[in-house]
Symmetry: C2
Subunit: 283 residues, 2 copies
């Protein structure tokens, strides 16, 4: 990014905490940004997400809610390569019920940078969907549902992998399954095997099965998160189809969620973190 | 088995549908029983379970409930090796809600052979736990919950694998989690991630986490299956610890389940299948 926060260029890879040992993060970063580095001043690198986890690059201790998504506590250190000055944004923790997030706090900061007075719910669908209650510039409380991970495990590795397609959709099947899971969440474990049985007995098509599995899990998520979203202003922060699915499910429940682009709010949050660090004279 | 059904010797392997192509079943069987075969008559081999599935040795079409666990329909064929005469017991299917079982019908037949007038519920805990309503010698209806498979996936492959031990137990933690899941089943997706968060934030021990995960999933199962077991006579058919966990959970709910040994009822069911086949002159 330029000094005013305008993106100049970008690079991506699949390297992350799942793949890298702690000592491998710096090399992974240099593979991406090395060509952009010139002397003599070290380039500030602002990082959010699992790089700050215990099994990440370096652990940035959680900040406990309720608190603003960004605070004075930032983890800063010099890398082995003198051209890099590293800052990692800490995640947030909650004592009761116990919960944690890393990376979503930066996206929330980006959301609030554009809408400072926002009082309501941020929903960040994903492997571990987050629901956060925001008020007066703070994250008041939040809840995590393992929805995306459950979908990946069930569709990819369970007995359902024979019956659930890897692509395809059925809007009606999704909506019915959401409603089903929300009205009888206790039936989930039985409904899941039902997808397999229907595929065997009545030829349930893989795209319908996929849509139903998604609907059951998103419906279960909404059932668990109802205290968060019911009657609240909701902003969905996500990319592509998953956020759209949550939007459909919420709309069917009478909510009117807005959507924010995940990339934009992440960059806005990183810019806000950069500004906070600059205030204290970093790097 | 001798002609009167008394077991003479046994052999085991891990070969099964997950590992064998259809053409591999006969060789897998011969690896185990080959040493026992002598001429000149072919030895009757009575088989139950996934060998009769679509991806098994040969598909034995489901028999639809309500029906007795064993019926006139048996799949019989000659193997390539002339010393083997094969019979496969068909599984059962249910139209609404769609459901299937393979192997459990033979265990149920074994249960009813010992208790022909049994009117109540058979619960067969496992990877895909089955609850079956038995009356007048028939399987009236049944329901499958993917409880064991969910436990394996979550404890072994999800983010929870870092926090949930592979061994260890905590009786109190299990009981609390069962009660929690039964009272608020809609919170499951949030409670699951809570195990991870508590491990990170308050040092939840792996054996307690394991017991809680098991309790959450068995509690969800009981919540889904309440229409089956509430107020009914219950027999748990299972081996070892898993059936004991279901027994604990049911007892806490005021039920008084009996337990039957899985190996005994399986053998009794296979004996009953053998007798049925002999009635029609097989092999």
């Amino acid at each position: 990014m330029a000094a005013d926060g305008v993106p100049l260029t970008e690079a991506r890879s699949d390297d992350g905490m799942a793949r890298l040992a702690p000592e491998g993060f710096e090399a992974a970063l240099l593979r991406l940004v090395g060509p952009w580095l010139s002397g003599p001043e070290p380039v500030p690198v602002v990082i959010c997400g699992m790089a700050g986890a215990r099994q990440g690059w370096r652990e940035a201790p959680y900040r406990p809610v309720p608190c603003p998504p960004l605070g004075p506590e930032m983890l800063t250190f010099g890398a082995n390569d003198p051209r890099l000055a590293i800052a990692i944004v800490p995640g947030l923790s909650q004592a009761r019920p116990a919960d944690v997030m890393r990376g979503e706090e930066t996206q929330i900061a980006g959301l609030l940078a554009a809408a400072p007075g926002f009082d309501g719910i941020a929903c960040l669908p994903g492997t571990h969907t987050k629901w956060a209650h925001l008020s007066a510039g703070e994250v008041v409380g939040f809840q995590t549902c393992m929805t995306g991970e459950l979908f990946a495990l069930l569709s990819g590795q369970s007995v359902l992998r024979h019956s659930v397609g890897t692509t395809g959709w059925d809007r009606e099947a999704f909506a019915e399954a959401v409603a089903d899971a929300m009205s009888t969440p206790q039936k989930l474990a039985a409904r899941l095997f039902g997808l397999r049985a229907e595929a065997l007995l009545s030829g349930l098509a893989p795209d319908r099965a996929r849509a139903r599995l998604s609907g059951l899990l998103i419906g279960l998520d909404l059932a668990a998160s109802r205290p968060y979203w019911l009657g609240q202003e909701i902003v969905l922060i996500g990319e592509g189809t998953l956020a759209g699915r949550y939007a459909e499910a919420l709309v069917a429940q009478g909510a009117e969620p807005r959507q924010a682009d995940a990339t934009e709010v992440t960059l806005a949050g990183l810019r806000a973190a950069r500004a906070k660090l600059a205030e204290r004279g970093w790097p």
